[in-house]
């Protein structure tokens, strides 16, 4: 379990992380989402004890990570897949890491097999592709057989097969009762992977929400209505807090009434509906609108996409 309590990190004038509080529970995959520069990596570095918080705490299984005798057996992490010496072999890289935590060399071969690098373990890691580098980073995270696994943007550089592989791997780890905390700036990467989401923007917590709750938010507020006597129906639907925008001649978009309510109005007034479509937004859309106000560097097209 990872517990972050009132965590704040200030660099000069800027608040990189602003009073964050959340708990990452065992048994599920938790996605850590936020736009670029929202403070995800800073938060993860504070959980790892690399950056010291301006205030607040971050603990792993109840203790700051640095106070664990063998940190890798409590928390396995991937921070930056490029953090290897290019002329050192993958096997030596992992063996050095294993030695620091008193782990046997046999464990190095095991994790190399788990991530599918068993064949190339003795090769220089500098010759690895981006995807192989990610797999090596994940191997390092699994090395100590930890209760908690924390991965920063692990999907970066993986091909579709690799993404599928990591999704299954993380699901298995969670099913074994481990805490799995995975960051990404793309909802599309996370929506099939995570059961719970911690969403931040400009260092602040925006939502600490289950995937189901998030999907419920994706059910739009608007309903597309087509009817034969559309003008009559529009007249009947008007009311306080109800917004009706006409599309083409036979369609209106209604906000403030559910599709059920619209159906009943039509039924009691003998109006034949041609179609009644509740707007369904993608989770990406929901994520974009949640973080829209907090995106630091916004391009014009991005604003439109989120609108």
């Amino acid at each position: 379990m990872i517990e972050v309590t009132n965590l704040t990190k200030q660099y000069g004038e800027t608040l990189a992380v602003d009073n964050l509080t959340f708990t990452v529970r065992p048994g599920i995959v938790t996605g850590f989402l936020g736009p670029n520069g929202s403070g995800k990596s800073t938060t993860m570095r504070m959980i790892l004890g690399l950056d010291s918080p301006t205030s607040g705490t971050a603990t792993v299984n109840g203790l700051p990570l640095a106070d664990h005798g063998r940190p890798l057996t409590s928390l396995g992490f991937l921070l930056d897949a490029g953090a290897v010496h290019p002329t050192r072999s993958a096997h030596d890289h992992l063996r050095a890491l294993a030695l620091t935590n008193g782990l046997p060399t046999s464990r190095v071969d095991e994790v190399l097999d788990i991530v599918g690098l068993g064949e190339v373990g003795k090769r220089r890691s500098g010759g690895f592709s981006l995807g192989m580098g990610q797999r090596l980073g994940i191997a390092a995270a699994l090395l100590g057989n930890p209760d908690v696994i924390m991965l920063d943007e692990p999907v970066n550089g993986l091909d579709p097969e690799g993404i599928l592989w990591i999704r299954h791997l993380l699901q298995n780890l969670a099913d074994e009762g481990r805490t799995v905390f995975v960051s990404s700036h793309l909802m599309s990467e996370m929506e099939l992977m995570a059961e719970h989401f911690v969403i931040i923007g400009q260092g602040r917590l925006i939502k600490d929400i289950s995937a189901d709750e998030l999907r419920a938010m994706a059910v739009g507020e608007k309903t597309q209505v087509r009817a034969e006597q559309l003008d009559d129906l529009v007249g009947l639907m008007r009311g306080d807090g109800i917004e009706i925008v006409s599309g083409d001649r036979e369609t209106v978009s209604v906000r403030g009434l559910t599709s059920g309510e619209i159906g009943r109005i039509a039924q009691t007034n003998n109006i034949a509906l041609t179609s009644l479509i509740p707007e369904q937004r993608s989770l990406e859309d929901v994520f974009m609108s949640l973080t829209h106000d907090t995106v630091q560097y916004q391009g014009g097209s991005r604003m439109e996409a989120a609108a």
């Binding site: 379990m1 708990t23 529970r25 065992p26 048994g27 599920i28 570095r45 790892l48 004890g49 690399l50 950056d51 010291s52 603990t59 792993v60 299984n61 109840g62 203790l63 990570l65 106070d67 664990h68 005798g69 063998r70 940190p71 890798l72 057996t73 992490f77 921070l79 930056d80 490029g82 953090a83 290897v84 010496h85 002329t87 050192r88 072999s89 030596d92 063996r95 050095a96 890491l97 294993a98 030695l99 620091t100 935590n101 008193g102 464990r107 095991e110 097999d113 788990i114 390092a140 699994l142 057989n145 930890p146 209760d147 299954h168 791997l169 298995n172 780890l173 074994e176 009762g177 481990r178």
Partner: protein
Amino acid sequence: MTTALTTTNPSSPTAPNESSESIMTTTTLTAPVTATRTPKVPTVGVIKAEWLKFWSVRSTAVTLLAAGFATVAFGMIFSAVAESDEPAGPAALLSDPVDLALGGIGLSEMIIGVLGVMFVAGEYSTGLIRTAFAAVGKRGRVIRAKAAVLSASIFGVGLAAVTASVILGQAVYAGSEATSAVTDVLDVIFGTTLYLVGIGLIGAALGFILRSTAGGIGTLVGGVFIGPNLLNLLPDSFTDVFMKYLPSEAGAAMMTQVSNPDLLSRGAAYAVFTAWVVGLLGLAGWLVKRRDA
């Protein structure tokens, strides 16, 4: 996949049902502080890891070999071309046969200093240092382990190269006869080897302090190797007081059996040089602990 993960340490991850539910019910008010302080890994594990990291990079062996080769080769050249009648050597200071045989140290000390910088700063440039700090937990242990590995490696290679230089230098020596007491020669051999170890450690300390290969090498070369030459341009009244306390000048006193009024006594030189090395490593440790990694 799943089995491979669980079979290795079946006790570690708790069964999914039990753990998630019990924790969910208890988290609401107070977090369960069930943290078990796992026994600490002995420091020897961290040292072994650093040893493996040091020697598993091909450039390390090449660099140390180059330093050893430079020491022996230049020593032999200087010894072989010494003239028999004149006070030998290119400079008057290099009149002692043992000094001549160690004339290559001027190059190999730079190589070893750079190796020390790169061993540390290289991990800052790849980001590997963060992995090391997070995996070990206590940063001081990483610094001490790196220092131990660097010291042992440089001491081994340095002692072999310096001894070989002195012996081979004598074998090809063409200058006028001179005799040295065996104990004096041993003092020089150990002094020179320890100087090389210290220079490597100063390089490592600068790597931690500056966190950049270019900055570390620049400071090392400018501050330790070239800087003292520039100070020579200042008035003697000034340099006579301060020069001998610089690491390079203290080192010069450790590396010769010839007494020189411009240098510290051997004992004082060891004390001053040690203070430099320990001081810089201490500063490195202090900065590394209080800075974000």
